[in-house]
């Protein structure tokens, strides 16, 4: 009586967690994306997880905002100049 996934085709939260990267990247085919979204629209914990995953990716992308140290830049520009001297 009980295998709901098989009977009704609904995704479970543990399946959502496994599909989350494919979803975020746009790699789920149409019908699967639709089932994923039907679950997300109805499940606050999974919405939370999705939002946290997005925050994680955004935060990782902010790790490279450091300035180039001046001595490093100077040395590189000098090398560039030397190579390009006519």
């Amino acid at each position: 009586m009980n295998d709901e996934g098989t009977r009704f085709g609904w995704l479970t939260c543990s399946e959502i967690v496994e599909l989350i990267t494919d979803y975020i990247e746009g790699d789920l085919p149409g019908p699967e994306r639709e089932r994923f979204e039907e679950h997300i629209s109805s499940c606050a914990p999974c919405r939370q997880y999705l939002s946290q995953m997005r925050t994680t990716v955004e935060a990782a992308g902010r790790l490279t905002e450091e300035e180039v140290p001046e001595p490093t830049m100077d040395a590189l520009l000098e090398a560039f100049r030397d190579w390009n001297r006519p």
């Binding site: 990247e25 746009g26 789920l28 979204e37 629209s41």
Partner: protein, 190 residues
């Protein structure tokens, strides 16, 4: 093309996380696009009235979509979109009424089921619908959950082979309720 769209209280789309800038006093919000790596591969979405039960969130808007507009299953997609105006009738009270309505329809369906078979399962879901609605941290969240569980109950109550028709039927009833209550046409009139 004009359509409807939900966002969170923070102006973000619950599916692709994109931020839709709020309309200013003078006119629509700025155009928003989605990044290439996003669920619709760089396209934004809006909805017809019939799609709304699948996308419920805190704030309901009239939106404008532009750029290769495509009508798809459960959404309308385009290259960019913007918020035009808020539909203020969608508020906490409306969401709560929506939940009560889903529960009432579900209860009727369950009561009409034969006593054996899947009826105990459906009764369990009906309990869940009421409980999750109460425990939800926001009325919109409760509405989204109630809509989903209501559809599940309708599918089960429709009996062997009737599952898909049952859920479609319930979703149509949900959409009709919203359209009537909020005076929506299939897509907004300009």
């Amino acid at each position: 093309m004009l359509a409807y769209g939900f966002t969170g209280a923070d102006g973000r789309d619950l599916f692709d996380g994109a931020a839709w800038p709020a309309p200013t006093g003078d006119g629509p919000g700025a155009w928003a696009a989605a990044p290439a790596g996003s669920p619709l591969r760089g396209r934004v979405r809006g909805h017809r009235a019939s799609d709304l039960p699948f996308a419920i969130d805190d704030v309901l808007w009239v939106v404008e979509l532009d750029g290769d507009v495509r009508e798809e299953s459960r959404l309308v997609s385009a290259r960019r979109g913007r918020l035009v105006s808020r539909i203020v009738g969608w508020d906490h009270a409306c969401a709560a009424a929506f939940v009560r309505d889903c529960a009432a329809r579900a209860a009727t369906r369950v009561a009409a089921m034969p006593a054996d078979g899947d009826r105990p399962l459906a009764e369990g879901y009906l309990d869940d619908l009421r409980r999750y609605a109460e425990e939800s941290h926001s009325p919109a969240s409760a509405a989204g959950t109630a809509a989903y569980i209501g559809a599940r109950i309708a599918g089960i109550a429709a009996g062997p082979g009737g599952y898909a028709a049952g859920t479609d039927d319930e979703r149509a009833a949900q959409a009709a309720w919203l359209a009537e209550r909020l005076r929506l046409t299939d897509t907004p009139r300009g």
